[in-house]
Amino acid sequence: MTSLVNTTLTPPITASPQEMEGMALIQAVGNTPLLPLRRVTQDISPDVKVYAKAEWFNPGGSVKDRPAFNIIRTALFECHLLPGMRLLDSTSGNMGIAYATFGAALDIDITLAMPSNASPERVAILRALGADVVFTDPLEGSDGAILAARQMAEEQPDLYYYANQYDNPANWQAHYRSTGPEIAAQTQGTVTHFVAGLGTSGTLTGVSRYLREYNPEIRIVATQPDSPFHGLEGLKHMPTAIQPGIFDPSTPDRTVEIPTEAAHEMVRRLARQEGYFVGISSGAAAVAALQVAAELESGVVVTVFPDAGYKYLSDEALWEGR
């Protein structure tokens, strides 16, 4: 079955010549490699294959390039983000880095609300890219940053375009238009299971909407931390967090809950046994994908590795495996 949707992230036809030049960087978003898991899969049937989309190959270094660009593009196209306005959003890091990257390319100023305990690597990258960061109370986590951004947007609506990645449909639509079709094409249509972690839920929502149209037999599995207090940076425990507006709890066929320690151990194994130097949410995605794969006699399980390990190097406990 083929889909009639536009599968490319093309620039808007109204883009100015200057914007078109900024688009050169954006052309590099997406079409990431689909990498096989080979040595961490020893417990699964030889007729089951497990693959991961290597999202750190995006120019901003994470899967968030896809929604960030699509949110900016849509806001420009629909004239919500006007000349002189700043793009404002809350972030745990990667979305902010993606906004700041494309903001620099397209000459759009970026303001971010982010908990002050974001890793030093994230803070340094955002500073290098010239983003304006408002730090929020670490005890309040991501929800505190969301509330701060909301308040700033309400107080200065003429200054800020509030991108609101958690409620903005352009977030999941980016994955419907790019990640989903890429997975179908790269597996030659053989994908049977799609597994993704829940942050904003944009990846899961967009990819599963595309794949369900492509082949309704494909099973969708969500991954989240097994507890509200966890060390799975980037993932949300949906029952206890502000639920994203784009999240439809009926989307996944099932949800796999991952203990922090299992994800951290998998991060180390992926680096040392596969050469995949990835971040913590990738470890959680791999644990969930392997759990699903272990239950199958045959099938093709695809997941998404959101980013690389560079931004977690200062987390000594993660790499030492204490």
Binding site: T91, N94, G141, P228, G231, E261
Partner: protein
């Protein structure tokens, strides 16, 4: 008594409190007092073997206690120890 500051994800297990005064001369004793009074917190902070879980970040002022003396870090009467959560999605 030193004070422990509780992050939002743990407040449901501590009667919704944001700050709790605890007995203890060091971080280990303070956490022991906390989890004795609020036993539901225990599995979130400690492994089955009773060790502080590796991802639990404790800050005394701006300093990670891992860079001080770990759970043996002494606490003064007016110290505030913060339990910092990981940053969730987006």
């Amino acid at each position: 008594m030193p004070t422990l500051r509780i992050p939002t994800p743990l407040r449901p297990y501590a009667d919704g409190q944001t700050e709790i005064s605890v007995e203890g001369q060091n971080v280990a004793e303070a956490l022991a007092d906390l989890t004795t009074r609020y036993p539901e917190l225990k599995k979130h902070l400690f492994s089955d073997a009773g060790k502080l879980r590796a991802f639990v970040n404790l800050f005394l002022g701006e300093e990670d206690v891992r860079h001080l003396q770990g759970v043996d870090t002494p606490l003064k009467e007016d110290d505030k120890l913060r339990i910092i959560p990981s940053i969730a999605g987006g």
